[in-house]
Symmetry: C2
Subunit: 590 residues, 2 copies
C-alpha cells in the first residue's frame, strides 16, 4: 500500500496486452470521438465527427468519383457479403425514382432458416465479448460507413428519391450521428453496470466477503425493419444499439430501397470479420411486397427485439407484440401554428421550402398549418387571405424553378404516393361543389416539375388543400407533398386543435411562429402536456425540420407517432439484461 502523501496520483495504466482484441484497439482509436459525442449528448450541444458537405476539397481526392464508380459498377451486378453464403440470389424491384430504370442489383435472399441458423452460430462469442470490444467494433463500422458516404449517397438517392445533397448529408452524416448517438447511450447504460465488486459486511458475528461478478447479457436477435424513404436514419441507431449490447441483427429493408441498406450491411459485416467475429451477426433479409418476410422474422423464437420505421398500421400491429421488445417510429400530423412573426416573408420562405423538401416525404415535414384571421407582424396585421396567397407564391417559387425544385424536392419514392395525392385532390375538388358536406378546397394542385438532370424523374410539387378546423381529412398522416391550410377563429383555437391532434393523431415535429412570449409559453405547455415537442420561430435553421443528434430527442413516445425515442436511455437500457455471480470467500481469505 502506498503512503498517503496527499498527492493525487494517476491511476495505474493497464499494460497493453498482446491479446488485446481488434475491437479493443478500435475502441482506443475512437475514444476521443466517443468522449466528445458523449459530452455533446449530455450537454445537448451541436456535434458531429462526420462531414455534412460533399464539397470535394473536404474529402480525400477522388472520393466522389469512387462513389460514382461504385454505383455505376454495382448496377446489374450481384452485391455479395450481406448474408450467409448458402443463400440464393434474388433481384428485387428496385427502380430509381430519378431515371425510372431498374437498378438491376441482385442480393442474397436467405431464408429465415438460413438466417437464424447462421445467427445461432455467431451469437455466443459476440455475447461473450466485452461491451468495450463491441463498442469498438461499432465505432469502427461507423467510421467505415463515413468513408463510404458518397457511395451511400448515390445508392440512397436512386432508391429513395432523395435529392443528392439530402442523400449525402441527411442519410450520411446526420444518420451516422444518430448511429453514433445510439452507441454512446448503449455504452453509457452498459458502463453503469460494474463488472465486479468486493462486498463486505457482517452477518451476525461473521465478517463476510463476497466476490461479485456482473455480466451484461443480450436479449436475443434484433429485427430491424427500415423504411423506404429514409432508411439510414432509424436503421443505424437500431443496428448499433443492438450490436453494442450484444444482440445479433437481421436488417430487412423496404423492397424498393435495398441497395443503401445492403451496402451498409456489407461494410458492417466486413468490419465484424476483420475484428475476428462472425459476420453473420448482421444479416440482411430481402423480400417483396407480395411475399413479405417481416412477420416470419419477428415470429422466430430467437427474435427478442424489433425496431420498425414505417406505416402507422403495421407499427401499431407490432406494438401489440407483447412478447417482443418493440421500438417504433411511424408518422404524425405535424402542425404549424402561424400566430405572429418578426419577418413574415422569412417564415413563409422557410415554411414553403420545408413543404417542398424531399417532396414532403420526411417524418418531420409539417402537414397542418393553422392560421388565425390575422397574423401579427411589426408592420401590422396580415389577413389570412394574404398569408395564404404569399405562402402559395413561395411554394411556386421553389416549384417553378427546375434547379431549385430539383435540389429541394428530389423525386417521389413511390408511385403510390402520387396516386394518393391524385385521389385526395380529386375528392376535394368534388367536395368543393358540395361544400356543405366536406369543406376542403384545392389551393394548389400538385404537379410534376421537369428535373434538369433526370427528365424521366418521378417528381411532384406540393398539393395544398384548405381544410376546415373541424374537418377530419387532415387528422391523419397524408404521406408525401400534401399540406393543409386551416383557417381558425383565433390563436387559442389554433393551439387547442393542434395540441389535441398531436395527442390523438401523433406528432413527430411541431412548429409555432410567434413573437408573443406569453403565447409561446402557453403553446409549449399545451404541447408538452400533449406529449409532443415543439420548435419556435425556426427560420434561419434551414430546413426548419432538421433535427440534430446529440441535441434533439426525436419522437417522444408519448403520442401515436411511435413508442421510441432517438436516443434516450430507454432506447438502449432494455436491450440487455444483467446476470451476476457472488462467491463467498472462505474464512481465512475474507
Amino acid at each position: 500500500m502506498k503512503p498517503a502523501t496527499g498527492i493525487v496520483e494517476p491511476p495505474d495504466i493497464e499494460p497493453e496486452s498482446a491479446t488485446r482484441s481488434q475491437g479493443d484497439q478500435w475502441f482506443a482509436e475512437h475514444a476521443e470521438v466517443l468522449r466528445l459525442a458523449d459530452a455533446a449528448s449530455r450537454a445537448r450541444t451541436a456535434f458531429t465527427p462526420y462531414l455534412e458537405s460533399p464539397r470535394a476539397h473536404l474529402h480525400p481526392v477522388g472520393a466522389k468519383a469512387r462513389g460514382q464508380e461504385w454505383f455505376a459498377a454495382v448496377r446489374n451486378s450481384a452485391l455479395s457479403g450481406t448474408a450467409p453464403d448458402d443463400a440464393e440470389l434474388f433481384l428485387p424491384d428496385e427502380i430509381s425514382p430519378f431515371t425510372q430504370e431498374p437498378l438491376g442489383v441482385r442480393y442474397a435472399r436467405p431464408t429465415p432458416e438460413q438466417i437464424f441458423s447462421a445467427i445461432g452460430n455467431a451469437a455466443p462469442s459476440w455475447a461473450a465479448a466485452s461491451p468495450q470490444e463491441r463498442v469498438g467494433v461499432c465505432l469502427e463500422a461507423l467510421d467505415r460507413l463515413h468513408q463510404d458516404v458518397f457511395a451511400n449517397a448515390y445508392a440512397t438517392m436512386h432508391t429513395t428519391g432523395q435529392p443528392f445533397i439530402m442523400a449525402f448529408a441527411g442519410s450520411g452524416a446526420n444518420s451516422l450521428d444518430r448511429g453514433l448517438e445510439a452507441v454512446v447511450y448503449a455504452m453509457r447504460a452498459m458502463a453503469d453496470v460494474a463488472p465486479a465488486a468486493e462486498f463486505r459486511r457482517s452477518f451476525g458475528a461473521a465478517e463476510v466477503t463476497l466476490d461479485k461478478r456482473y455480466q451484461i447479457r443480450p436479449r436475443g436477435v434484433g429485427v430491424v425493419i427500415a423504411c423506404g424513404s429514409y432508411p439510414a436514419w432509424n436503421a443505424y441507431p437500431a443496428i448499433f444499439a443492438n450490436l453494442a449490447t450484444g444482440n445479433p441483427v437481421v436488417v430487412k429493408p423496404h423492397p424498393a430501397t435495398v441497395l443503401p441498406v445492403a451496402r451498409a450491411v456489407q461494410i458492417v459485416r466486413a468490419v465484424l470479420a476483420e475484428a475476428g467475429h462472425d459476420p453473420n451477426l448482421v444479416i440482411m433479409a430481402v423480400d417483396t411486397t407480395d411475399e413479405p418476410i417481416a412477420n416470419a422474422l419477428i415470429d422466430h423464437p430467437a427474435t427478442a427485439i424489433v425496431d420498425f420505421t414505417g406505416s402507422p398500421q403495421y407499427g401499431q400491429e407490432l406494438e401489440q407484440r407483447f412478447d417482443r421488445l418493440v421500438f417504433t417510429e411511424t408518422a404524425g400530423t405535424n402542425a404549424v401554428i402561424l400566430e405572429s412573426a418578426r419577418d413574415l416573408d422569412a417564415v413563409l420562405v422557410a415554411l414553403a421550402r420545408s413543404l417542398c423538401l424531399f417532396s414532403g416525404q420526411m417524418c418531420t415535414t409539417p402537414q397542418n398549418v393553422f392560421v388565425p384571421p390575422v397574423v401579427q407582424t411589426p408592420t401590422g396585421p396580415v389577413p389570412y387571405a394574404q398569408v395564404r396567397r404569399r405562402l402559395l407564391a413561395e411554394i411556386d417559387r421553389v416549384a417553378t424553378d427546375p434547379r431549385i425544385a430539383a435540389a429541394t424536392c428530389g423525386a417521389v419514392h413511390s408511385q403510390t404516393t402520387i396516386a394518393a395525392l391524385d385521389a385526395l385532390a380529386e375528392s376535394s375538388q368534388l367536395s368543393q361543389r358540395d361544400a356543405a358536406h366536406s369543406p376542403e378546397h384545392v389551393l394548389r394542385q400538385h404537379t410534376a416539375y421537369e428535373h434538369p438532370d433526370f427528365p424521366r424523374a418521378r417528381t411532384c410539387t406540393p398539393l395544398v388543400l384548405e381544410s376546415a378546423a373541424r374537418d377530419d381529412l387532415h387528422r391523419a398522416e397524408r404521406f408525401g407533398p400534401v399540406s393543409f391550410l386551416i383557417p381558425v377563429q383565433d390563436r387559442d383555437e389554433a393551439l387547442a386543435l393542434a395540441a389535441a391532434d398531436a395527442a390523438a393523431c401523433g406528432a413527430i415535429a411541431s412548429y409555432c411562429y410567434t413573437t408573443d412570449l406569453s403565447y409561446a409559453d402557453a403553446v409549449e405547455s399545451a404541447f408538452f402536456a400533449a406529449g409532443a415537442s415543439i420548435g419556435f420561430n425556426l427560420v434561419r435553421q434551414a430546413p426548419l425540420n432538421f433535427t440534430a443528434a446529440f441535441s434533439d430527442y426525436h419522437v417522444t413516445g408519448l403520442n401515436p407517432a411511435g413508442n421510441a425515442c432517438l436516443t434516450d436511455l430507454a432506447f438502449v437500457a432494455s436491450r440487455f439484461r444483467i446476470v451476476q455471480s457472488k462467491t463467498e470467500r472462505v474464512g481465512a481469505e475474507a
Copy 2:
C-alpha cells in the same frame, strides 16, 4: 467575466430562494444519503442508511413500545388517510397467521372511479414538479417509513406470517434499501436529461442559436400490485420509481396483507401533503379474493404502468398486456448444486436454515437440491445417502426446537399453502407404492411446530421430497416449505438439469457449493447463458438467500421468473419520456 487566474474557483452557490419547495429542502437534507447510495449502487458495495437491528439502544427511546402501541390501537379501528375522503369503509379478511384472529382494521375502499378522478386532479402539479423536488419528497417519505419501522414490523408480521426479526429487517431496512435504490436509479436516469441547452451551429451562411428546453414527462398512472408474503420488497421500489418519475400510483395489496401497505401509503400521503402536493398521488385500493379489482385498475385508460409481484399465472397474463409497461416478479424453481464443500456441516446448516426460513415463502428460497452420488469434502467423499440424512437432521434441529423454529420459520401466510403441501405429500406417498409411475418419495413430512408465543399460530416445518432427475414435479414453483432432493448421476448432470430448469422454469436465486474452481467456472457460464444469477459457497452469509440492495441485481428478466430487475436502468428509464422545445434566437440575439 472573471479574469483567468489559473485558479479553479468553486462554482457559484445559488442563493437560497424564499420559494424553495419543501421537496427541494428535503432533497438538500437527504443529499448525503442519496450520494452515498448512488456511489454504492455504482460500486455494488454494501450500504444502508437504515437500521437492520431492532435492538432498543439503537433506536429512539420507546420506539419499539410505540410500534406495539400503534398496532394494538389500530386493531378493530378504522385506518384513515389511504384514499380519497369520499370512499366507503371496508373490512377485509385480514387474519393474523400467528393468532389466527381477525385484525379487524377497516380501510377506505375507493371505487376505480373515485381513484382515477382523484388522481386526475392530483397528477398535473406533480408532473410539473422538478425531478429534484419529487426525489426530495421520496427521500423524506423513505425516512419517515424508517422512523415507523417497528409499527411496520408488527403490521407485517401479523399479516404475512414473517417472524418478527424478518418483518423488522427484511421488510424494514432491506426493503427500504430497495426503495432508496429505485430512487437513486430514477434520479440517475432523469439527471441524464439536461434541462436546457444552447445549441449553436451554422446552416449555410447563417449562424443560428437555438435555446432548447427539455422536460421529463410521466407516462401515466402506475398500478402496483403487492404480494401477500413480502409486500414491501417489491412495492417500495415500484411506488418510489413511479413517484420520482412523476407518475401517480395506485397500490393494491393482497387482500390478506393490507395493513403494512396501508400504513406505508398513509405515511407517503402525509409526506406528499406536507410537501404541498395532493396526497391522492398515492391511493390504496383494496379488494377481496372473490371480487378482485386489479383488472379494473389496470384496464383504466389512465393506467400506463403495472408493477406486479405474485403468481406466475397472473404475471404471465400481465406480461401480455402490450398496451401497458409491465414489470413482474413471479417465482422460480431455485436450484442448489451440492458438488463439494470445504465444510459440509456448515453448508448443510446454512441450507437447512434457508429451507426453514419464513417457512420457504421467500422468492429466493432454494427448492431443488441436486446432489451427485458423492459430495467431495476435505475428509473424503460423502455419499448421497449420508448427505441426505445429515441435511434432514439439520432441518429437524431447527424444526424441533420451538424457539429456533419460531425465530426462523415464523408462520404460514395462507392455509392454501399448507393444503397444497398436504396434497403434494399425499400424492407422493401414493406414488411411493407405485414407483414405476411417479418416483417421488417423502423424505420428511411437513408438520406444525408449537410456537412458544402464539399457540394458535399456523406453522409448518419443511416437507422434503426425493425426486428423480427426470421427474416433472419439481419443475414448477412449489410455494411454501417444500423442497426436492434430487440425486443425479454426476455433477455434469446436476449442472445440465439445474441450468435447463432455470431457463425453462425460471430462477430468482440459484446456489452452488463447490471447491473446484473449474467446475465453478462451468456453473457460472451455464447459468449466465441460461439467463440466471448464481451464488457460490454461501455459508456465513446468513441467510444464504439474502440479497443486498445496491449490490445484488434481483431477478434477471431473462428467464420466466419475471421480466424486471431490482434495480437497473431498465427498471426506471421507460417510466418517463422526454419532450422538448427549441426556439430560434432572432439575428441580433443569436
